[in-house]
Symmetry: C3
């Protein structure tokens, strides 16, 4: 689907479950798909019970008919392996397949994403089903991707997981002595003498709820259990992928990610996937910056390669507590926003709305009314036509960014499990503070992992990067020495990979780079704040106020209140040919906008275009063309002045350099400019 030679345009379609409907409906679906410009369907996501009615029996007859039908109708297929929900008979006959919750509650049968990742039954039957699917449908050349399982996630704490965890720990640390060191088990008499004494970190052992947040007594164990669960599920993915690859080595394999989904270390996952795909379900009031940030995160997993927008909702998502309708134009606008950030597909959950069970009030191309004259159908058909019109022009184009934000799952876990200094510590929110300031100015951002290549960027920002992975400070040191600009914040660089504090004062190994020593950090309760003046304007300081001693760095701003009034809150340190800045507290959006604007200006980092508020612009390009995506998120008309001329490929209108581009409410334009 991504980089496939078969695909010549942005594919359009999504999840389709004909097995839930009588066959006469299928033909009506084909007719409506054509009308809407649908050219791809994701099939077979939840059919395990149908495909394998019992231990040794497989029945592909219905799927055969579906496959024939969609092929006849010229549809591409994104082929799922159906292993995201096991059959009821399997749960009954092999109870090891169901999960155990953190409090020890053994699940019976139900829901989905319900298989223990270390269940021998699951690990036997899931790859087996993948293998049989590949074997049976390898001849269908309209299959453009394998979609393994669906939205991997959740947790298990069963005895099989406990055993596998012990093996995982053994393989990570080698000796029990090293485990004791890494987890600091001398604390609270936790010394283990044998791997068999280790138990999962859960509500029965180290974890508990505290003021509504999950806490742990042993960060090291809890961190490793999260790593282990993410790895366990990734192994399940790999088991299926490997079976598929053996038979259809040329069909790319993916699984649909869920954006900033905390439990799984998606960077590690993406490394095992042929291309990245994800499901975008922002809340009705989330604003455009949040999905933009997540799109950029997904794009970053494979160094900027386009990704697949696998799911979004045509209108409402049933699980939101208020299923507010997507307003007219929003579905189209958000579809183009995905493309503007690097998506090469526009896909949905779902093609036809089911009549029973919990997703029946999730929107679909074909509603319960079954009509082609609904608002949603008409909007989708119009988008389908638009996609047909522009064809493959933008496929494979890339985004160029001068700025990278470091984003790290393990740090996310560690920072929020740390047991102090504040319940307000919120990793994604801190990352968003920095991202949003750049987003609002249309400055392109890449997301990289802590071990990502910094050398390509003029500026690297690492908000709240509490965990200094082994070697991370060294990479930053080289980057800054070599002329890079680095910004990091309060509660960064305190600990190693095991959440062990790096001794000698905060921020551990980064003190020399930043030219500071943080002696104390004052956690201000919700509603309390300190303040500082930056370039003549006063901004709030809160969450954590670092009290620091410059050791080489220059003060940019100082606290105005409290006993540490007059001590620095913002610093910059010249280091090698570059410089390293430190933001010692959480502040507000106005501050991040001002601060990052100044730094961008100094570094010569320019916006793609200056626009009115809530008009977003991105640029995708290849060797020949640049495509300017202009997205009006406002509820009224707007306009932007173009720097370069070009053609709006949606309307064929031609604009000259300096022309005003008019935008409807929720309007979109894509200005193609030929490169000189």
């Amino acid at each position: 689907m991504i980089n496939s030679p078969k695909i010549r345009k942005i594919v359009y379609g999504g999840d389709y479950n004909p097995e839930q409907w009588p066959e006469e409906v299928w033909h009506e679906d084909m007719r409506l798909f054509k009308e809407a410009g649908v050219d791809i369907v994701t099939l077979n996501v939840f059919s395990w019970a149908m495909l394998q009615p019992s231990e040794d029996e497989y029945d592909f007859s219905t799927l055969d008919r579906i496959m024939e039908l969609v092929k006849e109708n010229g549809l591409f297929v994104c082929m799922a392996t159906s292993t995201a929900a096991h059959p009821a008979w399997m749960a009954k006959r092999h109870p090891d397949i169901t999960r155990v919750e953190s409090n020890g509650m053994k699940r019976s049968f139900g829901a989905r994403h319900n298989s223990c990742p270390n269940s021998p039954t699951y690990r036997k039957y899931a790859p087996e089903l993948a293998r049989r699917l590949a074997e049976r449908y390898k001849g269908f050349d309209n299959i453009v991707a394998w979609h393994v399982s669906n939205e991997f996630g959740g947790e298990c704490y069963c005895e099989n997981c406990a055993k596998a965890f012990r093996e995982w720990v053994k393989s990570r640390y080698g000796t029990i002595e090293e485990v004791n060191r890494a987890w600091n088990t001398a604390f609270w008499s936790h010394t283990f003498y044998d791997f068999d004494e280790i138990v999962p970190a859960d509500l029965r052992s180290e974890e508990f709820s505290w003021d509504g947040q999950l806490r742990t007594n042993f960060q090291g164990i809890s961190l490793d259990y999260r790593r282990f669960l993410s790895d366990s599920m990734l192994e399940c993915f790999k088991l299926e992928r490997d079976e598929l690859k053996k038979i259809t080595p040329d069909i790319p394999v993916t699984t649909n990610l869920m954006g900033w989904y905390k439990p799984l270390d998606y960077k590690k996952w993406a490394d095992e996937m042929d291309f990245v795909s994800w499901d975008n379900y922002p809340n009705y009031d989330s604003g455009p910056a949040y999905p933009a940030a997540v799109h950029d995160t997904m794009r970053g997993f494979k160094g900027g390669q386009p990704f697949c927008l696998m799911e979004q909702s045509p209108s409402v998502s049933n699980w939101h507590i208020y299923c507010k309708l997507k307003r007219p134009g929003v579905m189209r606008l958000w579809s183009w926003q995905a493309v503007a950030h690097g998506a090469d597909t526009v896909m949905f959950f779902q093609m036809r709305r089911s009549i029973g069970a919990c997703e029946k009030y999730h929107s679909a191309l074909i509603d319960h009314a079954g009509r082609n004259d609904t608002r949603v159908f008409k909007e989708m058909a119009a988008l389908g036509a638009e996609l047909k019109k522009i064809g493959g022009q933008t496929l494979g184009t890339r985004i160029k960014a001068d700025i990278a934000i470091v984003f790290d799952w393990e740090n996310w876990w560690a920072a929020e499990l740390s047991a102090g200094p504040s319940r307000l510590i919120n990793y994604c929110s801190e990352v968003s503070s920095y991202y949003n300031a750049l987003f609002s100015r249309n400055i392109a951002v890449d997301f990289i992992a802590p071990d990502g290549d910094m050398s390509k960027y003029k500026l690297v920002i690492a908000p709240l990067l509490y965990m200094n992975h082994e070697g991370y400070d060294e990479r930053v040191r080289e980057y800054v020495k070599g002329g890079g600009t680095y910004i990091t914040t309060y509660f960064s660089g305190w600990v190693d990979d095991n959440d062990l504090v790096l001794p000698g004062g905060y921020p551990g190994k980064q003190k020399d780079i930043l030219g500071i020593w943080v002696e104390e950090s004052d956690a201000l309760p919700e509603g309390e704040e300190n303040s500082f003046i930056y370039k003549g304007t006063e901004y709030p300081a809160g969450t954590l106020c670092d009290i620091m001693h410059p050791e080489g760095a220059r003060e940019i701003a100082v606290y105005e209140r409290e006993f540490y009034s007059g001590t620095p809150v913002l610093t910059v340190n010249d280091f090698g040919s570059g410089r390293a800045s430190y933001v010692g507290c959480h502040s507000n959006d106005a501050f991040y906008a001002a601060y990052l604007s100044d730094i961008c200006a100094e570094l010569g980092i320019e916006p793609v275009l200056d626009t009115p508020q809530d008009v977003e612009v991105t640029r995708r390009e290849n060797d020949e063309y640049s495509f300017l995506f202009v997205l009006n998120h406002k509820d009224e008309k707007s306009e932007v002045r173009l720097r370069e001329g070009g053609t709006d490929i949606l309307t064929d209108k031609v604009y000259g350099s300096g022309d005003l581009l008019p935008l409807n409410r929720k309007g979109v334009a894509i200005i193609r400019t030929e490169k000189k």
Copy 2:
């Protein structure tokens, strides 16, 4: 107790537990009962452990003495079967009798209402105890009713329940194929191949908590588990009832219901009871409309036949989080309100306040002080005298209503389990919106089940009737065709008995009757609202705003805002000789008052009497007399102008037509008028 030839007045008394006290206290109780005008006691509600000290041993000696004593003292007995709390030895010896909670937690021994309804032990010993009680006390002709168990309720998810559930499912659906269809198991790979694969819908399978509300992944399974639990407990009721009937066929059998108690489908229960009885415990701030609505619901179960007010509190209820005292006059006022809505008894929990365990701070006729000069005792004695004074005049009288509200337990479950479109969906609150508008105008209302007889009514209102039971639309169609007026609302008629969406657009099979098609429904978050103008006044529109297309109906009002501004929110459709109105959103009390007043005026439906706010009036009547109950819920005096003359049977004062009837603070009058 209801329709009993032995009973010549409104019986007065309630729960009495002498077995908790030394025998010398019993005689003091008899003296005080006489002083207070008590003539009935409910005995033996929680004595199982006393009556059956071990597996094969029964000991009725204490109960024998109690029965002799109350008989000597001329008291009627409402005789409970004591099966609402099993003995500790039974829980120890037969653990199957204790329940398992939704999360799998096995209960030990404790509390009450603690027996698994599918426990073989419970189903053996409970009817056995009922049989022995009937056998032993059949000679007591002062027993006027059997009171089976007590406040049936709660839930169980044990293995015995799981087995019984499978049988229940089999008996409902016949084949596993039909189960799969009804539950739409093709969704999420839930296909069952054998009944044995089915498990209870609970926290271990399909259910979970979401933003503080219980949700389910499979509405069909969860709905059926609720049906099953209600039926299981009803079977327990019937097992006891049948034993009692064998021995004392002439003593009516009841069990005390709890009003709008969600877990049990009380309409189905009422069909198995000889008369309806219930326990009325409004919160201190609930206002008079809520208990009125519930009284009317209870009265509706048996087509308007009087019911028994089995319990209410003399003053505080211990389980309220603030045990605010019932103000002077309130106990009397609320007692008469029950009668005004169809009760033929005035009974209380409890006669003497216990000294230990959790109900010791629940109020009683005889307080811990043991005195006859407490405020509560004096108020109760005064009411006792009043009841004696009026005698049996009102017994058996009926209320006549031109309006019916459809109320349905299964719909309640389904609408609130639906997984979208809004967490604000609240069935009882929507029903109350319509009821309260009529209540505040003293317009009589009956409650009927969806299969109830509509033909008697000029107006039938079905608020938020999400579930269109098989055949329901056909009954509505006939009713409206025949000249009836029908009102229904947003989120009505969407699904069938299994919560499967009725295809072809909302509201499914009722589209022709209502003359509309609802394309989309916009769930507005708490605090957001749209608006519309009805007869010159602007009203809010919220919760769910249906966006609809008239297909024959006339617009009465349209939305004022949002992209669906100008589209209809209120419609009316002429259909046959009648008409069907649709209210496409939730609005406010002022709207419901205005709208229903207009409709009542058009239909010639008149208030019993026009009164100042918070003065309630109802009418009960028989062939000879009409009794006007006038209830002043205000904290100050009031007065009402009588349309017809008559005699206040509480004071013997005579009023002429058009006279002003003065009312004290919390005052009551009952004006008897002879029919011409």
Copy 3:
């Protein structure tokens, strides 16, 4: 440590865990301890896993080296027994040692304070370890106390506890008949025929959550299970203590209490301890009165004997949801506050901050930076010098109080488990209302148990003393008859030791003393209030408004509103040579201040000194000297006028009678005055 002849000054130091660090760090620690004036360390708190690596193996080698080192460095040792967290191998090999939660969740291994108090394994190995420690280190004459386990607490509901509970019940009540009487099991068919039928009061039996509060169906059983758990843990303490005493009879034994910690009946515990020690961790916003009240409670356990401040934090406590720094001066101020209220030690958790697991962000003398120039280190070193300077002058001095407040754990449990009349019933908050009024006026208060000696006091206050322990009313009667003044409040004296209501009207057996009968109590919801006028000022009345009949008492104030307007809310009764006052509701701080000031004035009870608001003064004294502790809790400077002259032993400044004593922000002075 307390009353030890070896100790000549206020010892200074705290918890020290060198076993968590490489040995080279130990020597650096010794150097820094000297610099900070540390002279005592608490060792070996969490080393069980290190000391006992397996079933039959013990290894004291590391502890030996630590003991040698601290001895060489002249440090006293408070020697812990390490039994507060069992080893992982023990949990694996002997699962009986881990706890079961109230919902039946069996814990695996983790956290601390994790041993079931009735585990045979725990009861075998814990005393065994204590014995071996005593045997091995008995020769170290720098051991000044044994510190058994650590912060005993928590709960267990396992089968071993159930068995032990049955034995406990048997031993308390003798016969099953007496159990049935005490628990009022005739209610809800709870009659037990055999002790084996009894189960723990937990979420599986009688308890449940109600509006966020824990409730029970059977107060008697729940109360006894709390008694039993407190006793079970106390037995564990005694098992260790007895082993220690056999070998080192002269070393006093303690365990660190946690102030107003609800689960354990600390008065009973204190009776088994050689001296009282406790851990003081107020929240950043708790204000000075709360720790003062708890200090006074701790001091009261042993009739005013000085106690040990075992733990406090140098700055932040990691488990607070916002780890706000202790402001400069606060650590010193709060240390002196402890001394001012009777502490003879100033000790901390912890000496060196650990690098891993959940307490790594708890403050320490030696921070992660490992430096002696941090703010915290410098403040602590300054305090160390101060303590050295004043030496042993204040050791053993006592506080004299004319007022006692009755504080009772069992009453705390009972009042808050009572199931009505109001969720606002809060024992500690009511006690604090009275305490704070006296605290704010610098009037000394002792805390006594209900069976404490009242005769020493001019005034005894028993706020919300719901439970009238057997004989309590008799002691009050004698006290008041003999001339004492007694104040009690609403919801006092209602029940006996088993939460059985004392019949005949509230407050049961105290009616004659108070000269009143309370007929009803009106629980006002949060936000609602009544009012009364006391000496010309109007005050609010809320939570519970008792409606009472004077039976000898005089009215002091009456309600102004509601149907009980004009009835008494404050009364006083002359009884014998004394008088008994009753406060029939909860009011506000202004009322308590006014009311208690008047009573103190009448009784000739004087403040230690009149001071500006938030400047606290206490007096400790011995036969020769009086020490006036002056503590400025304000954020600005202040001053107080001295009544008597003396020398500030912190500064050696001499003040004459009537002089102004200046105080810095958070400043402290200790004025020594020689007795004439």
